[in-house]
Amino acid sequence: MVPLSYYVILSLVVFLIGVVGVLIRRNIIVILLSIELMLNAANINFVAFSHYLQDVGGQVFVFFVLTVAAAEVVVGLAIIIALYRGKGSIDVEVLNRMRW
């Protein structure tokens, strides 16, 4: 039916869109959203392989990816709030204290 390679390419494209998004946006929240994109791309990959290799372990792994994504979002947003309180901005270019 649908060849596996199509799914892989799809996940690849979405992943790279996420990477580019991390690289080019100045708003931290949108950067986090791009990270979600990357995670979703990985999920697509896992489920596709799980389907084609007839192994349900791939879906179990998606489970865990989901869990981690949730945890990461929570902590990330909390940090952003704390940063905003401290610096008053969420523009990444402003947050450059850890430099030489």
Partner: protein, 186 residues
């Protein structure tokens, strides 16, 4: 039929992904992401992972995205002033990696292999949910417990980090309290 559906889902996914990273307003990005989540769920159903599809919508679309929207509203974020200076380099790098990955893919085993032959029956009975459950609580029991711990830690972290006054005068630790005015002679 499946192919058509796949292409539909795929196109929308890619389009909304681009919208996510390209929108000026963060709210627009979040909403585009929402649409993407739904279509990813659809893709999962196409692949016979109904349970995962459901969990995707519940957790991602229903919890994580809502969280994002909360924060966006809370911080009253305005529109961005533009992309980062390195956009050109980033796009070129991304494109280059894409091409290389495709080339890699074309050389690999399953380019010809697995395409149609394993025309899979959906994951065999007893059904997706039960299948996942069987494996999750036996083979992957330990990671399951660890995952719950991760969630616990995330919760604690979030509470602590977002608490007001967390970065004020340190009160925990060595018990050292610099006295405010001790300059007058006793």
């Amino acid at each position: 039929m499946t192919l058509v559906l796949f292409f539909y889902f795929a196109c929308v996914i890619v389009a909304t992904a681009v919208l996510v990273i390209a929108s000026r307003k963060p709210v627009n990005s979040a909403l585009a992401l929402l649409v993407m989540f739904f279509h990813v769920a659809g893709l999962f159903i196409l692949l016979g992972a109904e349970f995962i599809a459901a969990v995707q919508i519940i957790v991602y679309a229903g919890a994580i995205l809502v969280l994002y929207l909360f924060v966006v509203m809370l911080l009253n974020v305005r529109a961005d002033e533009g992309y980062h200076r390195q956009i050109r380099v980033a796009l070129i790098a991304g494109l280059a990696i894409l091409i290389e990955a495709v080339v890699l893919l074309s050389r690999s085993r399953f380019a010809n292999g697995l395409s149609d032959s394993a025309s899979p029956a959906p994951v065999a009975t007893p059904g997706n949910t039960e299948g996942i459950g069987r494996v999750l609580y036996t083979t992957y029991l330990f990671p399951f417990e660890v995952a719950s711990l991760i969630l616990l830690v995330a919760m604690i972290g979030a509470i602590l980090l977002a608490k007001k006054g967390i970065f004020d005068r340190p009160t925990v630790g060595a018990g050292f309290k610099p006295a405010p005015t001790e300059r007058k002679t006793d």
